[in-house]
């Protein structure tokens, strides 16, 4: 008996030691970061669960102060809930998971996930975690108080009781732990805010220790499309993994093992691989030894295979990035929201990955400060280790002066009124460390990031040119509609004569149909007044396409019929728009380009482009 007790103590102490020694790997390396890690693990779990069950997430994160350096962190979601027999395993067992041998992009976990968070709380305060959960199918909710029995790697269940919860489904995790609450760049607030940017379908509430509540509203009523689970591609497989897979395989022979457990391997390629490895086709996978496994892996690398499927990729998507940035950064009143860029998939070490970039520019954003780079890996904000991250390095490598931003010698930190969002995603991204705080600066990845940013910034340039052009058009319009009429009125008033018709003179100077817009703020958007004036001597029929705010989904076609000389048409439209309205893109068809000003010729591939977008 005594021996067992000693042993238990020994093992507990060693685990504490393990925790202490490996804090940096597990992410719990400082008091403030530990608090952050607990929120992150619980919050990411909530988002993942909601997305998987196509539920629009409603998540509340609440932190309260228990004593000077002890806090209670509580995360409540409206997720699917957890079957009660599963609860002890999900929360109380280290390395419990269902993600073996399938490849899929997910937010994932850092280190040991939520269990590590509970364990950290237990080690620093002696407090057990509270878990409450209810599934829609269940009549009652269940409450658990549980810690972690390190010796047996299982939950140490203190309480399990049913209760009536006033919600249909959801989960609450509440952990008491030692920590320090901070605000600023690497804070919980920043994490939730940046999460809100890429999850506009989520409604997020944050209650700070001082009781202050912050809401990040849902701005899109649509669940994201989640990535498909795919079998691993043989190119990306490490020796150890291959061995584990072979041991666990249901297949009777090597051909079936390769063809059924992997993607992009047909029976004939499987035969080729096995033959080239000098192995027997009907060998049982589980019987392979180290040498055979090595031979098999070598043979795989030499065989030509189709690139991995991109179905396992899950982008945030253009619409989500746009909405998210528009809503979260509305307070900065940016004058330009760049259309987000999504790159085609690339391959790194047998696994697909891709890059998305979004941008907001101008308005109240400070022009003399470093541009804000918000980094994401698999939809998770990266707040730590910016210096060693592929994203930051790519940004610093580009010459931003081309796009009108400041940068010393065209290298390093760029300065200007911009927020750049960069999302790198894919199953098995290369991280710089186990804590997944930064993406390795691998060349294929940095090349893609740079290409995406360049593409995005070119739009800023176009926007700048367009703004300049619009200003000139507005000035011309003012000349014809206000200045020259005023001159006519003044002349006749001085001479006591009748006001002359100025249209012959104006059409001589202008000779075009003018499109001019006036915007005025109203409620949560703008009233856009579009004025068309025919300054030519002939009558015109044409179609004017207005893209409000340059958005493909806010389009109105105006059919203009029989617009006679000196005739005017005015359209008014209300557009809901957070922040500063960037102006409308006007396109025309059915009129000679030299006869119209203030609109662009509709591109010939317009309809095609729309189809691709859908």
């Amino acid at each position: 008996m005594a021996k067992t007790k000693e042993q238990t103590q020994y093992r507990e102490v060693s685990l504490s030691e393990f925790f202490e020694k490996n804090r940096h790997i597990l992410g719990f390396d400082s008091a403030q970061k530990s608090l952050f890690m607990i929120v992150k693990e619980a919050f990411d779990n909530s988002l993942d669960a909601c997305d998987e069950y196509a539920i629009l997430p409603e998540i509340e994160v609440s932190i309260s102060k228990v004593s000077d350096d002890i806090f209670n962190i509580s995360v409540t979601d409206n997720g699917p809930g957890i079957e009660r027999t599963q609860v002890p395993r999900v929360f109380g067992q280290l390395l419990y998971g269902s993600r073996f041998h399938v490849i899929r992009q997910s937010r994932g976990q850092q280190g040991l996930g939520i269990t590590a968070a509970i364990l950290y709380g237990q080690l620093t305060t002696g407090e057990k975690a509270l878990v409450e959960t209810k599934r829609e199918a269940d009549d009652v909710a269940f409450r658990f108080v549980l810690g972690i029995n390190v010796k047996d790697n299982k939950a140490d269940l203190k309480l399990q009781e049913p209760f009536i919860w006033d919600r249909q489904h959801g989960t609450r995790v509440s952990i008491t732990a030692k920590g320090r609450y901070i605000t600023g760049k690497q804070s919980i607030m920043e994490y939730l805010k940046e999460s809100a940017v890429v999850n506009p379908h989520a409604s997020i509430t944050f209650v700070e220790p001082d009781g202050k509540r912050t809401h990040f509203n849902r701005t899109i009523e649509k669940v994201p499309i989640i990535s498909k689970t795919v079998k691993p591609h043989p190119y990306g497989i490490e020796i150890g993994e291959l061995m584990t897979m072979a041991k666990a395989s249901q297949a009777n022979n090597l051909i079936r093992f390769l063809a059924d457990d992997f993607s992009r391997v047909s029976d004939s390629t499987a035969t080729e691989i096995v033959t080239n490895a000098g192995l027997k086709k009907d060998a049982k996978p589980s019987s392979l030894g180290n040498t055979e496994i090595s031979a098999l892996r070598e043979s795989i690398q030499k065989t030509k295979l189709m690139p991995p499927s991109q179905e396992s990729l899950s982008p945030i998507g253009e619409e989500f990035i746009r909405r998210g940035m528009m809503s979260i950064y509305a307070e900065e009143r940016p004058e330009f929201y760049g259309k987000p860029i999504t790159r085609k998939a690339g391959i790194y070490s047998g696994n697909p990955f891709s890059v998305e970039v979004g941008m907001v520019y101008g308005g109240d954003l400070p022009g003399d400060q470093a541009i804000r780079i918000i980094r994401y890996a698999n939809k998770v904000p990266l707040l730590y280790q910016p210096g060693s991250c592929a994203i930051t390095q790519s940004v610093f490598d580009l010459d931003w002066r081309t796009y009108g931003l400041d940068q010393k010698q065209g290298k390093g930190q760029p300065y200007g009124p911009a927020i750049i969002l960069v999302h790198v995603y894919g199953p098995r991204l290369p991280y710089t460390s186990e804590s997944k705080e930064a993406i390795s600066a691998v060349e294929v990845i940095t090349d893609e990031i740079k290409a995406a940013i360049k593409q995005e910034m070119r739009m800023l340039k176009t926007f700048g040119n367009r703004k300049e052009k619009m200003k000139k058009v507005a000035e011309r319009f003012n000349l014809f509609r206000r200045l020259i009429p005023e001159i006519a009125v003044k002349c006749s008033a001085i001479l006591g004569k009748e006001t002359p018709d100025i249209n012959p003179v104006v059409s001589k100077i202008a000779g075009v149909v003018f499109i001019h817009e006036e915007i005025s703020k109203k409620d949560a958007g703008y009233v856009i007044k579009t004025e068309l004036f025919n300054f030519t001597q002939s009558t015109h029929d044409f179609t004017l396409k207005a893209l409000y705010g340059g958005m493909d989904d806010k389009v109105i076609d105006f059919k203009i019929e029989q617009l006679g000389p000196a005739e005017e048409k005015v359209f008014e439209n209300y557009v809901e728009w957070p922040g500063q309205y960037p102006g409308t893109d006007y396109y025309f068809t059915g009129i000679e380009p030299s006869k119209i000003q203030g609109a662009e010729l509709l591109p010939g591939d317009w309809d095609l482009r729309k189809m691709n977008g859908e």
């Binding site: 000349l479 200045l483 001159i487 006519a488 001085i494 012959p504 003179v505």
Partner: protein
Amino acid sequence: MAEIKTDETLKKLVEKVYNDLVSGEVPEVKISSRTKDNIVFDQTNNVWKYGNSTVSRSVKTTDGAQFMAKSLYTIEFILDMIRSGKSSTLREMYYISEGWKDYKFHTQDESNMLAEDLEVITALMREDFKLRPEENGASVIGNITIEEKNRKGEFKRINCRDDVGDAGYTIPYNVESDKVKLVSHDADFILAIETGGMFDRLVENGFDENFRSVLVHLKGQPARSTRRLLKRLNNELGLPVYVFTDGDPWSFRIFGSIAYGAIKTAHISEWLAVPSAEFIGITASDILNYDLPADKLSDKDISALNSELQDPRFSTEFWKQEIETMLQMGKKAEQQALAKYGLDFVTEKYLPDKLADVR
């Protein structure tokens, strides 16, 4: 009479714009280009005037149309003043334009410039437009007797040495013979002085009496009325004019505007300029010869000097050499730097020497 002529001339201008609009022509006004590139020497009057190059202001451009609209507002305002027998200062007109909303003047320079443009276009004077400048306080001390019409309409006789205080006789904005009559004088020349400090020094040292001179304080770049009075004193009384200034590029320009005519007012140079005026201000050579305390030329000074090298008015041997020397030494000096050698140095040594050179 003059008022009827002004009224007619301005209305003709408006009529042209009106008729253009009626007949579908683009209204346009041509005006002499008012830059130093368009200054030519007028052999008859020995002054520099605008040349043949013109700029066009038409309603084709926003700038042109703005100019035309503002001109029309200004003309309407002038015609109103003529009708009601009023006049206004240029500053008042600038403020009145506040009510013209989109067509108001943004600076007083802009409104002054437009008044000058109207002079150039119509060949009338701003006095005809009932516009006048503020008094700028330039003054005269010396044995010369004038009669100035006061507010009661009576001519009041003033001797500019005996009837005035230390500040001298203040030059009014209108110095034409209907306002100021030149009655008599007992002096040999006129000394025009740039700065107040030097003017006071010469008054205290009795330079006017000791050297039988009339001292005129220019107060920096001289106003039109100051230049006009110098012109009348020179023309009608035959008094030579000597200009005593600091030694810097801006002072050279002061002399240029007195002797050759200013670029801004080149349309009336023959009426304002004194072609026989002589420069006896501080030169680059003086700074060297007298070893005067000097300041470094600023970037603005240097570019002003370079611009003067391109100015046709300064394309004489004397000026070219002085300007180039100043650029080479990179120094400028004030009139009052002469005090290095005592308070009397200027009246006992510097000015007598300089005057001996030019007389």
